[in-house]
């Protein structure tokens, strides 16, 4: 696949949707409006934990301008004892997340919603809704939630035979860890904590929904999957999928946070009750209070190694916050943590812990950065103890083709070793640091990647161009990559290809934009469709020439006669064949739908240089490089973009991002002022070492790219701070007060 003759694959083309996005024309969900549209607003809980005794909406309904009020009673009921899974979600929890039912479970939990002639009237009406609560004690942190006398969020959750906030567990075992540790010369064990961090998409959740009197429903919303929106809306409102058309608006960032619904079913019910289209737009505070960050965590990891660097055993325990309803990404934490290494004895255990926080949502390799933070930090210390370069320690133990991973699979050809070799041989790693409180850290990471359902349609237009329709919202330039592949396969010019994201009524089922799956899966169905189109084109030429289709070859964007007919007819271009399409059998086009498999995991190794201002505790990143096996960089710029975005989010997670709660159980930093994501002046250029080990199970060699680059970040920064200060800080974020306190404590200790 590294065929240099590729004309479009690997080229930095201009994305098809680009001009719209640099001119303000691109329509995001909040940009939509409909005739007669009114506005919806949500009433949110003032308590972190309370029983809802009653809700009286009569005063709100009486307010002039109010057109509809909705509560949980207006939605399909999902009893807690019957699981209703949809992907990794469960409608029992989803229904209670969009509107509280028996209890409010976090401060900001939606209770009711109002649609009115203006946002102001809707907000005023929300304030008139009378809710009677029985306020309960609450638990925010993991330790509070698993304490003996903890307030129990859900009576129906049992652990070890008793009501508990531990909603689930996950265990991976390989070999015998006790036997493994017995062989070790060096054992390092540490405990870590990480804070919840938010995906931080700049576009808040928004939708416009129109339900006609016959229940025909149009949903215009920002999500990572219009089919997910349709499915969840059907589950929660009871309107059948055939009556719902979910249109994917342009999406202003998701990072996993838009893989579930918050507003769409609520707006649907409000629209149905009011008989009007309803628009709902969250403000930033609502996003921060009531949409899912990823889990906060506490974990303990123990690793044993021989003097020569051979890791003989690894053990990890990971507690992850689920938020108020079950479903934290323990699989990502416990499953990915040890995956980069060929370790014969592994025991990895995850706990899913509910507490009075907003329900977590996916965030870029969900759970994996938490696992990697612990394992990669411990490995750093193992390397120090046995006096080995930390990259060489990883190289010695690196998973490769044939390695059996604790979470199940035996790896096919993977590129982890190559990321380590590239890091070791890089200018970055070879350049010595010069400053006093400067340090360098390394870390690696793994993500599963995903395949799953995709559909595509490739149509030849009457004038001989190509329209490709797929079903995955384009968040980071995937249209450009699809266009590169299509142009390559058909042998035509990139500009001849248009790529559309279809709505749920116009393209076949396509799973989420998530799991680093979009290009992997959609390229597969596009490839199948293009192959079928080429067969049709060859058939049309054969018909025109009066020869057998097997005697036609498609080359360089043209049909050419071959074999005994070679040179007998002038070749025909796509345009010429399109012009004759009706005479030769009708429109030319093909679609393909598939449940794709073979995604295979992705690996990355990061190198991070920091400098610490030891008087103020400030950590600044000086230089940062990501080395990642990307399979095949179909569009290198957008591959780099994924790597750079992941690096930036990892740095943010490591240094300044955190959810801060006050004593009342409320988020104390629900905005971009105090939820401190990296700003432009915080970061250096973010360097990319792209390594291409083509995925043998994909026609273009594509491997998922988007999630791995977040995984090593927090550990790489933390290990760099250790290198700078000689202090191992095990609690994120490495914010100034934390770093300064650690430095001063260390200095005092040294002085004593």
């Amino acid at each position: 696949m590294n065929d240099q003759s590729n004309k479009w694959i690997g080229k930095r083309t201009v994305r098809p949707d680009g001009a719209d996005k640099v001119t303000g024309r691109a329509a995001y969900a909040a940009d939509a409006s409909m005739p007669g549209m009114i506005w919806g607003k949500v009433l949110r809980s003032p308590h972190p934990h309370a029983v809802i005794k009653s809700i009286d909406t009569s005063k709100a309904e009486a307010l002039p301008g109010v057109k509809a009020v909705a509560t949980a009673a207006d939605f399909v009921d999902f009893p807690t004892d019957t699981p209703v899974p949809l992907g990794i979600q469960d409608m029992r929890w989803m229904s209670r997340n969009i509107l509280a039912k028996e209890k409010v479970l976090f401060h900001g939990h939606p209770i009711a919603a109002v649609a009115a002639m203006s946002e102001e009237i809707a907000a005023e009406a929300c304030a008139l809704i009378e809710v009677e609560y029985d306020v309960l004690p609450f638990a925010i942190e993991i330790d509070d939630a698993i304490a003996k006398d903890a307030p129990i969020l859900h009576d129906f959750i049992q652990f070890e035979g008793k009501p508990s906030n531990i909603a689930g567990t996950l265990e991976h075992t390989l070999g015998d860890v006790d036997a493994g540790f017995a062989e070790a010369d060096v054992i390092v064990e540490r405990s870590f904590t990480t804070k919840p961090v938010h995906q931080g998409y700049i576009e808040t959740h928004a939708c416009v929904v129109s339900v006609a009197p016959d229940d025909r429903t149009t949903i215009w919303s920002s999500s990572q999957g219009q089919f997910m929106v349709r499915a969840m809306t059907t589950f929660l409102t009871g309107i059948p999928q055939s009556k719902i058309n979910a249109i994917p608006a342009e999406i202003g960032g998701g990072f996993g946070g838009k893989t579930i619904v918050y507003l769409e079913p609520v707006a649907t019910i409000l629209s149905k009750k009011s008989g009007r289209p309803v628009k709902m737009v969250m403000n930033r505070e609502e996003v921060m209070r009531a949409t899912g960050p990823t889990s906060g965590s506490k974990s303990t990891v123990k690793i044993g190694a021989k003097k020569d660097g051979t890791i003989v055993a690894g053990e990890g325990t990971f507690y992850l916050q689920a938020g108020c309803l079950p479903g934290s990404p323990i699989r990502g934490a416990a499953g990915c943590a040890f995956a980069p290494y060929d370790i014969k004895n592994v025991h990895s255990f995850g706990y899913d812990v509910v507490s009075n926080r907003s329900k977590v949502a996916a965030y870029r390799a969900p759970g994996a950065p938490i696992g990697a933070f612990a394992v990669e930090s411990v490995l750093d210390e193992v390397a120090e103890k046995i006096g080995m370069d930390p990259l060489k320690l990883r190289l010695k133990n690196a998973a490769k083709e044939g390695t059996k991973a604790a979470h199940g699979p035996t790896f096919p050809r993977i590129g982890y070793v190559e990321t380590l070799e590239a890091a070791l041989n890089s200018d970055h790693y070879k350049t010595p640091l010069t400053g006093k409180f400067q340090g360098r850290g390394v870390a690696s990471g793994f993500w599963f990647n995903a395949g799953g359902e995709s559909s595509a349609q490739v149509n030849i237009t009457e004038d001989g161009n190509v329209v490709v329709t797929t079903g995955h919202p384009d968040i980071g330039g995937s249209r450009a990559s699809i266009a590169n592949i299509t142009a390559e396969l058909l042998g035509i010019d990139y500009d001849q290809v248009s790529v559309q994201i279809g709505d749920t009524a116009s393209v076949g089922y396509s799973n989420l934009t998530g799991g680093s799956r979009v290009l992997f899966a959609s390229a597969m169905v596009v490839t199948e469709s293009a192959a079928e189109v080429i067969e049709q084109l060859k058939g049309r030429a054969a018909k025109i020439w009066g020869i057998d289709p097997s005697q036609v070859v498609w080359e360089g964007g043209e049909a050419r006669p071959m074999g005994e007919h070679s040179g007998n007819f002038p070749s025909m271009t796509l345009g010429e064949l399109a012009a004759k399409a009706n005479a030769t059998g009708g429109p030319i086009g093909a679609g393909s739908q598939s449940n794709t498999v073979g995604a295979e995991g992705g690996f990355a190794t990061h190198v991070c240089d920091v400098e610490v201002d030891v008087d103020l505790g400030i950590v600044r990143v000086l230089r940062y490089t990501c080395f990642q096996d990307v399979g095949r960089a179909i569009h290198p710029s957008y591959v780099e973009g994924q790597l750079q975005g992941g690096m930036a989010q990892g740095i943010g997670w490591a240094i300044n991002e955190e959810y801060i709660y006050n004593k009342k159980g409320q988020v104390d930093n629900p905005g971009f002022l105090d939820y401190r994501m990296p700003v432009c002046s915080d970061l250096p250029m973010l360097d990319c070492g792209i390594i291409e080990i083509p995925n043998p199970k994909h026609p273009q060699g594509v491997r998922g790219v988007g999630e791995v680059p977040l995984v090593p970040g927090p550990a790489a920064v933390r290990n760099a701070v250790f290198d700078a200060l000689g202090i191992r800080i095990d609690d994120l974020p490495l914010s100034p007060p934390t770093v300064l306190a650690a430095f001063d404590a260390n200095s005092r200790q040294a002085a004593e």
Partner: protein
């Protein structure tokens, strides 16, 4: 309370609209005038997605009352391109300096404002000027490069 009548100039066009006293300029642009290119990411001046210029000065339209536009000139992303793209817009496209694109209008308005004042900014100057424009997708790398390369191109073209 009666609506306020505002006479202003938006992207060079004399424009009149009605607003409430509490409406922000961003509300007026998006909801009244249909200029939805300016985005609301926070409503508190922390993300810059609503950036416009007011009499040539870069501001957050979410932190400005619509009524304040009376008698002044406002420029938004919709006015940045003519029949061809502004060099910054073209460079952002060519260098993939956008992913989801939600921050892009504000980023472009801010970058244009920088280059009008400082045609030869250092990387540090670019980074600090754009510190009020949050981007969660790109890590800023390609944005900063695009702004600096555009500045170089524009200097070259002006010679």
């Amino acid at each position: 309370m009666a609506k306020i009548h505002v006479s202003t100039t938006i992207n060079g066009e004399p424009t009149e609209f009605l607003c409430d006293a509490g409406d922000s300029m961003l509300d007026a642009l998006r909801d009244t005038l249909g200029l939805t290119g300016s985005k609301e990411g926070c409503g508190t001046g922390d993300c810059g997605a609503c950036s416009v210029t007011l009499d040539g000065r870069l501001v957050c339209s979410c932190l400005m009352l619509a009524a304040e536009a009376d008698g002044h000139k406002v420029e938004t992303i919709e006015g940045m391109a003519s029949d061809h793209l502004h060099p910054l817009q073209q460079k952002f496209l060519e260098s993939a300096a956008l992913q989801c694109g939600i921050c892009t209008p504000g980023m472009l308005i801010a970058a244009k404002s920088l280059l009008e004042r400082n045609p030869d900014p250092t990387e540090t100057e670019v980074r600090f000027w754009l510190a009020g424009n949050l981007c969660r997708c790109t890590g800023y790398d390609k944005i900063v490069r695009a702004v600096m390369e555009t500045a170089a191109d524009m200097r070259e073209a002006a010679r």
